[in-house]
Subunit: 195 residues, 2 copies
DNA sequence: CGAGTTGTTCAATAGTCATTGAACAATTGC
DNA sequence: GCAATTGTTCAATGACTATTGAACAACTCG
């Protein structure tokens, strides 16, 4: 979370612009904590809050970063499907895709699942070896099985998250977000039975 | 995920030791993707799989890293409550705390919540300003409200996760992990109703 | 004791990665 | 058509951070 460079040469706009930049920084820091680039969060947030599409040079100005950085971020965000050009023109202004759910599930399906699966496979291999050796081995099969159960639980959770239905239109997504918040609260009771 | 240094001077133990190191690397890479240090995951995993407590020098040998690094990792893991010395002695061997749930919830309560809350507060401030200005402002109050709904949803999810009861003993934890995996699968149906 | 081992500290290093600036290409508007 | 703006590429830089090595302290055990 290197904040210093961001406060260097940022334009002194109106108060709203300042508040929006605060949001961009907050989102940037957040997704940085999740192992992604802070600039991605900042660019997406700026576009998400803007009324219409914004040119790359404009984005760079408002965020106070170089055009090269904005360009890199935009191309990568486009690949993620989080952002799109409003036309095929080279200098078409960019708009945000507010439906981030498909991207989140993509990340889970890709990075997250792969990393857990790798641990699970390694644990299976270790378990086979540890069971082959007897009591003398410094590693405990019982403990390996516990870690295996934990990876299994993690994969169950991920599968559940992936099973959440994806609303297609933006309005449906907004509606879903509001309703899901309430429904999730009810799930607390179900989970509380697991004591 | 800098893998190179790890394959530098690692001891050629028996096959089981190699498999265990694979697990350590897998877990290390995993928690690194979550914004933590890879060495923490490797040290904890090694201890978690070991039958008994292990001396710091021994950990360093098995992982093929310096004692300084192990020492730093152990002190930090101790603060997190993920690892503990078996006595007050200076050179007491270290053992893993297998019940990682309290640490996970601590992270959620701390880092995760704080980051989202910061975004929410910034969004509220921006919303007030955007509503004050009228149609002419380049930022759309409606979009700010949508992002606010998304942070609200994220906080609901976090609250739900924090409400999961924590089993106290290790056996209870292991049992809970196995049962939770099944129960979580049933929750898919509930979530599927949210289309 | 005293040699060997282990824990602890810290300054130095080495590798990584976000970010920039400059140079060039494409596009727009006058 | 020409100036100004915008997008694109890439090598260079600057900052950060994990990791090490050396030096010292504490402990063990013969």
């Amino acid at each position: 979370m290197s904040v210093a460079p961001r406060e260097k040469a940022r334009p002194e706009g109106d108060r709203l612009a300042q508040r929006v930049l605060s949001v961009c920084d907050a989102v940037g820091d957040y997704i940085e904590a999740w192992g992604f680039r802070s600039i991605h969060g900042r660019v997406w947030t700026l576009l998400a809050l803007s009324r219409g599409p914004v040119a790359q040079a404009d984005i760079a100005d408002r965020l106070g970063v170089s055009r090269s950085l904005v360009h890199l971020a935009v191309t990568e965000l486009t690949q993620y499907g989080l952002v799109r050009a409003t036309s095929a023109a080279r200098n078409a202004p960019i708009e945000a895709n507010l439906d981030v759910w498909p991207t989140i599930t993509d990340v889970i399906r890709g990075r997250e699942w792969m990393l857990i699966e790798r641990a699970r496979v390694a644990l299976e291999a270790a378990l086979a070896e540890a069971e082959f050796l007897g009591e003398e081995s410094p590693y405990d099969p019982e403990r390996i099985r516990l870690l295996l159960a934990m990876t299994g639980l993690a994969q169950s959770v991920l599968r559940t998250v992936l099973a959440v239905p994806i609303p297609r239109s933006l309005e449906a997504f907004a509606k879903w977000v509001r309703r899901a918040s309430k429904t999730i609260n009810k799930l607390e009771d179900t989970l509380a039975l697991l004591s």
